[in-house]
């Protein structure tokens, strides 16, 4: 009885956890994988950190981030 009640919550939540892992976890991993590939359809060659260098080196990107942070002022 003791072990049964310890297992019960996992049995109840297990299907949902599995579903979430498949639906969200897998796509999250794929997104990170894509970020290291060249933008060419669904499967480009690996280019390492070049995409990151490209985006982070653009002043427009940092301006956008700044505007987002400025909009956070609206919370209080």
């Amino acid at each position: 009885m003791r072990t049964h009640s310890r297992l019960a919550p996992w049995l109840f939540t297990g299907p949902l956890i599995l579903l979430l892992l498949v639906v969200f976890g897998q796509s999250l991993v794929r997104v990170v994988e894509f970020s290291f590939k060249m933008v060419r359809g669904i499967d480009g060659p690996w280019i390492g950190l070049r995409n990151y260098q490209l985006v982070l080196g653009q002043p427009l990107f940092w301006e956008s981030v700044g505007h987002n942070l400025l909009l956070l002022l609206a919370i209080p």
């Binding site: 490209l54 427009l60 981030v65 505007h67 987002n68 400025l70 919370i75």
Partner: protein, 189 residues
């Protein structure tokens, strides 16, 4: 946003005459679609639009700004619009929590002679703490990830005058749909 909706909710909690009607009117912006709000606001806030007409009529010429066309003001206009719309959710959340509270505490404070400000600050707001935290987190998420529709409609799809209302979402959208990252296009050729 939090302070504004908290104030409105506390005022409505005082059961001012017709508070149910006010509640409905205050929640109205939240059920309208964001693009509709943005388009209407864009019309209203034109340089010769109704808002500026009223401001000039009140002889507040200094306040009759070019709300959307000027790069310095555009982002603040968007922020005002977001505050106006998202506060509605806060009012409803706070009001529902207030109406669920135990009224005897307020009555006791009243009998002790606490005025409205003291009652609000010492009795009601501490009990609202959980809801306030929740609303603050929800607002932060909204402002970081759900402002695309506002800036897309107001900024004409390009982030406003120049790049003054560009946000990260719009940047990602532009990068995806138009390949507008100059270096990436060069690399793809």
């Amino acid at each position: 946003m939090v302070a504004l909706s908290l104030l409105i909710a506390l005022l409505l909690y005082e059961r001012v005459r017709g508070w149910k009607a006010y509640r409905t009117v205050l929640f109205l912006p939240y059920i309208l679609a964001i693009p509709i709000i943005a388009v209407v606001a864009k019309q209203m806030l034109q340089l010769e639009g109704p808002v500026n007409e009223v401001l000039r009529w009140l002889s507040l010429d200094a306040l009759a700004l070019d709300w959307i066309g000027s790069g310095d003001v555009a982002l603040w206009t968007v922020m005002l619009l977001i505050i106006w719309r998202e506060s509605a959710l806060g009012v409803i959340l706070f009001l529902s929590r207030l109406l669920a509270l135990d009224e005897s505490l307020v009555e006791a404070a009243k009998i002790e002679g606490a005025n409205w400000r003291q009652r609000a600050w010492h009795v009601l707001i501490p009990q609202l703490r959980g809801v306030i935290e929740f609303f603050a987190v929800i607002s932060a998420i909204t402002l970081l990830t759900a402002v695309f529709a506002y800036v897309y409609m107001i900024g004409g799809g390009r982030g406003g005058p120049g790049t003054s209302t560009m946000v990260v979402e719009l940047y990602i959208y532009n990068a995806l749909t138009r390949q507008s990252l100059p270096a990436s296009r060069r690399r793809c050729q």
